[in-house]
């Protein structure tokens, strides 16, 4: 029973190769069934996403399995060996466990900290459960990987730090407004970047979206798309009285919102805080708005600055995550080694019980006139001797030790276990 991970990802293969090796749709079931049909493979989970294709396997002989797997991939996807070899990586033992944990926690992802991979791994595991291609080893590994991912997410800030401008905008908005739900969004201009940022906000549950665009028709379209309403561009100052979040990208050559204008609006709003993102170049919102209380304005450079800070922070958090993973690998190893010992412990016990039963039977045969009391005494005596004899080796097998497999092999030899 050996763990083996084989696959490729965005670091080892470009998208053309990854595409060809994907296990999409019906191929997933087919792949799972055919890989476990191989003599050498007992369990399999296939993880296939746009950035990686991996198999997590329980194999008898990891060295032999490598060649077999390359043949399998080559045949299954009709792809030549020479194309595969440079892209595939193989991990066994501890490295395989580390790889599984890292992938699940998004440490191996293109954007470290991204949230999708954990769900994708869970789906892959569910599929294997459905097609019954897992057993005790992969069940434990998958469940552990998912719980390690959860630990990493809650104990580090790795997934909280935005690394794209639109996520950064949402992150900032959440530090101004505790809850984005119920807040009103105003879009000045209907550009693509504004739409993207707005969509992120809408996903966070904002209340109403209003679009004010110079070309009313385009504004209407976007408003319909976002489930909001459109207004004439000239009317935007009125809308600013009730908007909490403003996204500006009008393409105008000058400032559309000036400081005096904003001062007046804030007064009328009774200083309700306003969060403004200006993603137009040249800027449409006067930077002097920063001097006003309760107005929080960010342009593209500011947002990029947040992103840059976050990249450094993420790296620090990733280190914390690696530490958590190292801890969890040790725990998993302990489980694994106790698992390996279980059949031997059972075999030892069984052997001992069989010998005891045989000898007692033979003795009874030679001494037919023993009384009930004597028979009971003999049973107790032999049981006691046997228990005491097998206790030390059993305890040793349950202990965690570095040379566990040598111990198991030795005990098998000296007790004549199979």
């Amino acid at each position: 029973m050996n763990l083996l991970v084989v696959g490729l990802n965005h670091k080892t293969a470009d998208v053309e190769v990854r595409e060809r090796l994907a296990f999409g749709g019906a191929k997933l079931e087919d792949g799972l069934k055919r890989i476990t049909a191989l003599d050498d493979v007992n369990e399999a989970v296939i993880l296939s996403t746009c950035n990686r294709v991996e198999m997590y396997l329980n194999v008898k002989d990891p060295v032999k399995a490598e060649d077999e797997l390359i043949d399998f991939f080559s045949e299954f996807h009709s792809i030549r060996h020479e194309l595969l070899r440079p892209s595939l990586y193989f991990h066994t033992g501890d490295e395989a466990v580390r790889h599984a944990f890292r992938v699940a926690s998004s440490l191996d992802s293109m954007v470290v900290g991204e949230p999708q991979i954990t769900g994708q791994l869970k789906d892959a595991f569910d599929a294997s459960l459905k097609f019954k291609t897992t057993g005790i080893l992969l069940n434990k590994l998958m469940k552990k990987s998912l719980s390690v991912a959860k630990r990493v997410r809650t104990e580090t800030r790795i997934s909280a730090l935005a690394v794209s401008i639109s996520y950064a905008a949402v992150e900032l908005a959440k530090k101004v407004f505790e809850d984005l739900g119920g807040k009103n969004v105003l879009l000045l201009g209907a550009g693509e970047m504004a739409e993207l940022a707005a969509k992120h906000l809408v996903n966070s549950g904002v209340a109403e979206t209003v679009v004010a665009n110079r070309t009313f028709a385009t504004g209407c379209e976007l408003a319909k798309d976002m489930g909001g309403r459109a207004v004439k561009f000239e009317d935007f100052p009125d809308e600013m009285l009730t908007a909490d979040i403003v996204i500006c990208s009008t393409g105008a050559p000058t400032y559309v919102v000036t400081k005096p204008m904003m001062k007046d609006i804030m007064k009328k709003r009774k200083q309700e805080p306003m969060f403004i993102i200006d993603i137009s170049v040249p800027r449409n919102i006067d930077p002097e708005l920063d001097e006003l209380d309760n107005v929080y304005r960010y342009d593209v450079d500011d947002l990029q600055g947040v992103v840059d800070t976050n990249v450094g922070e993420r790296r620090k958090e990733a280190e914390l995550a690696e530490g958590i993973i190292a801890e969890e690998i040790e725990t998993f190893k302990r489980w694994l080694s106790s698992l390996e010992a279980v059949p031997t412990i059972l075999a030892l016990r069984e052997r001992a019980d069989r010998i005891m039963a045989q000898e007692v039977e033979r003795f009874m045969g030679k001494h037919p006139d023993l009384g009930e009391k004597e028979i009971q005494a003999i049973n107790r005596l032999t049981a006691g001797i046997v228990s005491k004899l097998i206790h030390p080796p059993t305890a040793a097998l349950k202990e965690d030790a570095e040379d566990k497999d040598i111990l198991i092999a030795t005990i098998k030899r000296i007790y004549g276990l199979d």
Binding site: L161, K175, V176, Q271, D290
Partner: protein
């Protein structure tokens, strides 16, 4: 050493550990600092309560009649309020701003003489407990509001300067902090008002005069006006956020002046 002194010293040590843990938490995020902060603050509170109850039992009157006792009780009220707020709001890093203040208070109390002072005739009144308890609770809430204001200004600085420091992600949103500041003052203000009113009733019953002016009563009026202004300006003119936070800090400075300033002048009937 007497049991109340031992208990208080233990409380002080616990508050010290809590303050250190809170400060450390500002610099490096770990799981240990917040837990240590709460456990030691809780332990300190227990010891502090024991000390207070013991002194009450020995003296036969509420242990709030000497500078030491008053300062210690003030610290006790702040810890109590802090736990109430934390259980309700669960804010990031609030403890880091509160526990150092608590330690400062308790340390000051420890520096003051601890002898049991006999209860002066003026203080032998049914108003003693009511007036002082209301005043201390109100002031404790003002203390917490001040710290919420400080946190607001820190977070606002991050947002305005656009340099997101490490604390940025861990501090609550400014909306939460502003809301907390407001809630705390709306709780503190009635308590404080009632404290003043009960003080006036006491003055009337013992000295025949509602307005018995001494250093503290005058400063209490100033404090009352500041917080009344804060509430009024918030409701009417939208003085929220930065202005409210700064005023909360000013208000608390006024509270501290009213409380400690008495020591400087040594005159009047507020001897503590």
């Amino acid at each position: 050493m007497q049991p109340d002194v031992i208990a208080f010293e233990l409380a002080l040590s616990m508050y010290f550990i809590s303050a250190i843990a809170g400060t450390a938490d500002l610099f490096k995020k770990t799981n240990i600092w917040p837990r240590l902060l709460f456990v030691s603050a809780g332990a300190g509170f227990v010891f502090h309560t024991i000390s207070t109850v013991y002194r009450f039992a020995i003296a036969g009157h509420p242990p709030i009649v000497s500078p030491h006792e008053a300062t210690a009780f003030f610290a006790w009220c702040i810890v109590l309020m802090f736990f109430v707020v934390e259980i309700r709001y669960r804010l990031g890093l609030f403890g880091s701003f509160i526990m150092p203040l608590v330690f400062f208070m308790a340390f000051t109390a420890a520096m003051l003489p601890r002898e049991f002072e006999p209860l002066q005739p003026l203080l032998q009144s049914k108003w003693l407990l009511t007036h002082t308890f209301l005043a201390f609770l109100g002031n404790a809430a003002f203390a917490l509001a001040c710290m919420a204001g400080v946190m607001y200004l820190v977070q606002e600085h991050y947002l305005k300067s656009k340099h997101m420091g490490d604390l940025f992600g861990r501090l609550p949103s400014i909306q939460t902090l502003d809301h907390l500041n407001y809630r705390l003052i709306t709780i503190a203000f009635p308590l404080f008002t009632l404290a003043i009113i009960s003080g006036m009733a006491w003055a009337k019953s013992s000295m025949g005069n509602y307005l018995a002016l001494d250093f503290r009563t005058v400063w209490a009026m100033v404090t009352w006006l500041i917080y009344a202004l804060i509430l009024h300006a918030r409701l009417v003119a939208g003085w929220r956020g930065r202005r409210a936070s700064v005023l909360s800090i000013v208000g608390f400075i006024s509270v501290l002046l009213a409380f400690f300033g008495v020591k400087l002048l040594q005159k009047g009937f507020h001897i503590f």
